[in-house]
Amino acid sequence: MSFYIATVVVIFGIDVLAAWALNLQYGLAGIPNFAFIVFQAAGAYTAAILTLGPMTASSAQTYIGGAHVPFVVGLIASMAGGAALAAVVGAFAMKRMRADYQAAILLILALILNQFVTTDTSLFNGTSGLANITRPLGSLINPNSTGWQWAYAGLVWALCAVVLFVVQRLSRSSWGRALRAQRDHDAAAAALGCNVVALKLQVFVIGGAIAGLSGGLLVFYLQAWNTGTWGYEETLAIFVSILIGGVANNWGVIVGTFLVQIVFVEVPNLLPQFGYIGLVDALEWIVIGLLWMIAIAFRPQGVIPERRVRAARLGAGAPIRAVPGEPPSRAASRPVGSAQQVPLGAAGPVSGSSEQ
């Protein structure tokens, strides 16, 4: 049982990482990345081939490249793999276009890539995918033991903490604010000096890197890379986690991911199977699809919506006029904190004349 719980904890952490990555792209920046799973797969593939070792004549599987790098390098490479693919795809998919066209392009891209990788045996080994990827840290703990399971779970969640810190910092920065601004009105953001295409490309690549990392962690855990597991419906499950948990709210996304990936995807595997083979699986996806529709219809911002950033948090003092119409008081008009040294309207044409 402990073994099984550890498995769930690992998968949960990896799914949360993926959901944060997509939430950066979709929640913060409004990019409907329906190809998301492809970037996770790219990271996983990169990590796999870099640890499988060079391909030899006797290798039972074919892949591109091949090396024996340490686990940590493999993880970093998985981020690079996801980011690199995102840069290539983003270079054309992040151009100024309507969001619905962008969604269509990305979804089609995901389908084509999956088809290509599945069919092409000379490069990606077709449907067989890759197997026999060694679990890391095997020299320290027996990789088949429960202890290893928990150690890996600890590692995954430690990385989650780091990624959450980075993602929150980015989201709350002025860069994150500019991203949210262009999400709401891209022409206005551009007219205020924001390079919208660059902003979207940047967040797309950062999201791609985190997606790649989650893929790397997954492939080291599963020891296999299988094209069948990278279907577009996996992207849908992550979208639903975000829609349920909270668009642009990274804490809410943890809740959403738990509900969708654990309660709706993992738990049914424990239930006694009924009906014909695959019925439970199919029902699972029907439920996820229904959840999507319900979420969009009733709570498009999610159960825990985006947090309102109050002016006080940005270093603004009390409003100059608490009650509209009341004359401004000189004392209250001085903002607190770091802004104190700055004379009001110090720069530009806004200066002076607070007396109306």
């Binding site: 205020l192 000096g193 919208v196 002016a311 603004a316 119409g325 044409p349 109306q356």
Partner: protein, 260 residues
């Protein structure tokens, strides 16, 4: 074509030359030439569909003209994307208000105040200290502006929660957060209550007095008369009259085309 003059001796900050802008095959702007001097407010009037907003879009960079040139301070900016124009001091409002709905009023102003620096990933992460200083300046400015326009009680409201007139104010305040050299306003007083509309008029005059060129589309002739130094009248994509408010209103072409 009517030759467009600027006030005596003033060197035009903005020069638009023979501009043609089309939607598909339709010529919405058909050979417009005009100029605006620093410190001048130029009004654009004309019937619905005359091409006023399209002209503004070509100057602001939202639309690519098919022909002609836009110059700012002598530099050709015809092909520059909007964010690059913004960096050169071109700032605008939109006919349909363009608030960032899921940002608070305060954040709307901060995005404007920080502009390209705010949107820079490097400045926002590695240059945190300098960014902090810039933010402090923007915060002070935003606080003052919000008070001046009596929106203190709404500074933490999402822009999508505002009324139409309040959204218009937020848009104008965003412009005031920047240091424009050229201010483009598309019907900037629509929906604003009389006393604030009055205040906006003073604001535009004051901005112009600080050396900014202002180009303003406005249907309300009373506002045009009060704010604009000079007026052009557009119809079917072309300028049909140009001059002071009184001159323009008396011209035969305007009487026929616009005032009916």
């Amino acid at each position: 074509m009517i030759a467009v003059q600027t006030p005596q001796g003033a060197r035009p900050l903005v020069e638009v030359e023979d501009l043609v802008v089309t939607y598909g095959g339709v010529r919405a702007v058909d050979g417009v030439t005009l100029s605006v001097a620093a410190g001048e407010v130029l009004g654009i009037v004309g019937p619905n569909g005359a091409g006023k907003s399209t002209l503004l879009a070509a100057i602001g960079g939202q639309m690519r003209p098919e022909r002609g040139h836009v110059r700012l301070d002598g530099a050709d900016i015809t092909r520059l994307p909007p964010h690059r124009r913004a960096r050169r001091g071109v700032v605008r409002t939109f006919q349909d208000t363009s608030e960032f709905g899921r940002l608070t009023v305060f954040e709307n102003l901060l995005v404007a105040g920080l502009g390209e620096q705010g949107a820079s990933l490097v400045a926002a992460t590695l240059g945190a200290r300098a960014q902090g200083r810039r933010t402090a300046v923007a915060v002070a400015r935003a606080t003052e502006l919000i008070s001046r326009f009596e929106l203190d009680h709404l500074r933490d409201a999402y822009a999508m929660e505002l009324s139409g007139g309040q959204r218009r104010l937020v848009e104008v305040m965003r412009c005031l957060m920047r240091e424009p050299r050229l201010l483009l306003l598309d019907e900037p007083t629509v929906g604003v209550a009389p006393h604030l509309s009055e205040q906006l008029r003073h604001e535009y005059r004051r901005i112009a007095a600080s050396g900014v060129a202002v180009l303003m589309i406005e249907h309300v002739l009373e506002v045009v008369e009060a704010v604009c130094d000079r007026v052009i009248v557009m119809e079917n994509g072309a300028v049909i009259a140009e001059g002071s408010f009184d001159e323009v209103m008396q011209s035969k072409a305007v009487q026929d085309a616009y005032l009916g």
